[in-house]
């Protein structure tokens, strides 16, 4: 085992449901604290103290919800696909469970990004929905999430369901850049960019610093939510093992 020293021991332990449950259990309070602190602090900062935009006034403040959720929707897909690949290659149970737990969180983030985008679009563009390239690709990302979730719930056998969704997530991952570019080219073709956010000078620091805080806060929230779902999933799937029974007896 000497050659494996470059990775800490807990990293390998994450592969075992039992250890993963314990490690995430000890990480959970830290991430919960960080998420609460960053999200509350970031919200107050961005809503009350960040300067208003000189063109859009206060309506631009929804960016502090919109951008983090959009970033997270994409990151969650990456995480899901990577977990799927790990699960397929090394047949790791925990990776399967991560895939299953990440999908609904990512889908809800995509919904949040679309909804906040629509609410933001009404005052700035004058309509709730525009067939803009970014909106369309976010909508397609949501469809990909829904496909993975539908497949996962349609197959009864848990490990088959996880493997099938992993294949689908990876196929989707290959497709995401293709979809993104095709939608961008399609948009420039069919529709001259009449509705475009007016070109702004680069954001001043007072504006993007709270945004950064919110993004990190969203990541922490994602971690908390993922760990909670993952722990639930571990308990459910390992319900017949001795350590889960002992754990439940203790509580």
């Amino acid at each position: 085992m000497a050659e494996k020293k470059w990775m800490p021991r807990w990293f390998y332990q994450l592969a075992s449901p039992r250890w993963c449950y314990q490690i995430t259990g000890s990480l959970l309070p830290w991430f919960t604290g960080a998420a609460l602190l960053l999200l509350i602090g970031g919200t107050i900062w961005s809503l009350a103290f960040a300067p208003a935009d000189y063109q859009q006034g206060n309506s631009f403040r929804i960016i502090y919800l919109h951008v983090p959720s959009a970033i997270l929707a994409q990151s969650a897909y990456m995480l899901m696909a990577v977990a799927g690949a790990i699960g397929l290659i090394w047949k790791m149970k925990v990776a399967d469970m991560v895939l299953k737990s990440a999908a609904p969180i990512g889908a809800s983030m995509a919904v949040l990004a679309l909804a906040t985008g629509a609410i933001w679009g009404k005052p700035t563009w004058g309509s709730w929905w525009v067939w803009d390239a970014r909106l369309t690709s976010m909508l397609i990302l949501l469809f990909l999430y829904l496909g993975v979730m539908a497949l996962n719930s349609a197959i009864e056998n848990e490990s088959t369901a996880a493997q099938a969704s992993a294949v689908l997530a990876l196929v989707g991952l290959v497709n995401i850049p293709i979809i993104k570019y095709s939608v961008e080219w399609w948009n420039t073709l069919h529709q001259p960019a009449t509705f475009k956010l007016t070109e702004k000078p680069a954001m001043p620091a007072e504006m993007w610093l709270p945004l950064l805080v919110m993004v990190i806060g969203f990541y922490c929230f994602f971690a908390v939510s993922l760990m909670l779902r993952l722990r639930n999933e571990i308990i459910w799937r390992e319900r017949r093992t001795g350590w889960v029974r002992e754990l439940l007896k203790k509580q």
Binding site: L88, A150, T160, A164, V167, L168, V171, I178, I179, W186
Partner: protein, 237 residues
């Protein structure tokens, strides 16, 4: 075919032989059940009929709509035919035999999907001018329509086969397969209908055809891998 040798070890057939054998089997099976061959084509025709009825029979308006409508109808017809691709093989157990055989699954799967394409995608392509006429597609658009369908429908078949392979073990795969596959069809639809539109307006369509060809090349290389993996997963349960 040198399939039947008397020794116990499997007969040596090359890649081309394997491809040809699978291809022949697929054609034989389909031509003995002709309704499966014709159904997607009828569906294609019916969907295209719905648009003038539902939107407007006015020729000027329809001719604007035609590239998109023909492409969407072709896409849906391909999707509809995908569910049957592996189903009968799954039900009679021959799919399991295919997976167990020592032959490379990549070739078998590729042959199956391409044979399926000849019977659906190619047939749809040949039928497309009829729909173009019904929807008043200008004559300049016809070559663009045929070429884009010729290059685009194999990609649709290959990507759809991934969905078919993932859902083959399920009883109600029909709706699920469209949920899985439709988002993945979007790039092909965009480039395909753009090619037709470019042809109608007299713009060069080489770029779109090149993009469709690139998607096809990517799908030819990668989709059989995903299909094989998906089939192994579906069978294992």
């Amino acid at each position: 075919m040198t399939m039947k040798t008397n020794s116990g070890q499997p007969a040596e057939i090359g890649m081309a032989g394997l491809f040809a054998a699978t291809w022949r089997r697929e054609f034989l099976l389909s031509f003995r059940r002709k309704s499966d061959l014709v159904n997607p084509l009828i569906f294609f025709l019916m969907v295209a009929t719905l648009f003038p009825l539902g939107v407007s029979p006015e020729p000027g308006f329809l001719s604007q709509l035609a590239p998109g409508v023909v492409w969407v109808a072709a896409l849906l017809a391909t999707l509809l035919s995908m569910d049957a691709l592996f189903r009968s093989d799954y039900e009679d157990g021959s799919l399991e035999q295919l997976l167990l055989s020592p032959q490379p699954l990549f070739v078998v799967v590729l042959a199956k999907v391409l044979a399926h394409w000849v019977m659906t995608g190619l047939a749809l392509t040949l039928m497309a001018p009829l729909l173009g006429l019904m929807l008043f597609l200008p004559a300049e658009g016809m070559p663009g329509l045929m070429l884009s369908l010729l290059l685009g429908t194999p990609t649709l078949s290959l990507v759809g086969a991934i969905g078919a392979a993932l859902t083959v073990g399920l009883k109600k795969g029909g709706v699920l397969i469209s949920l899985l596959v439709l988002p993945l069809y979007i790039p092909v639809l965009i480039f395909g209908s753009s090619a037709v539109q470019a042809a109608v307006t007299g713009l060069p369509l080489g770029g779109y055809l090149a993009l469709l060809g690139a998607l096809l090349a990517l799908a030819l290389g990668l989709a059989p891998l995903a299909i094989s993996a998906a089939l192994r997963i579906s069978i294992s349960s």
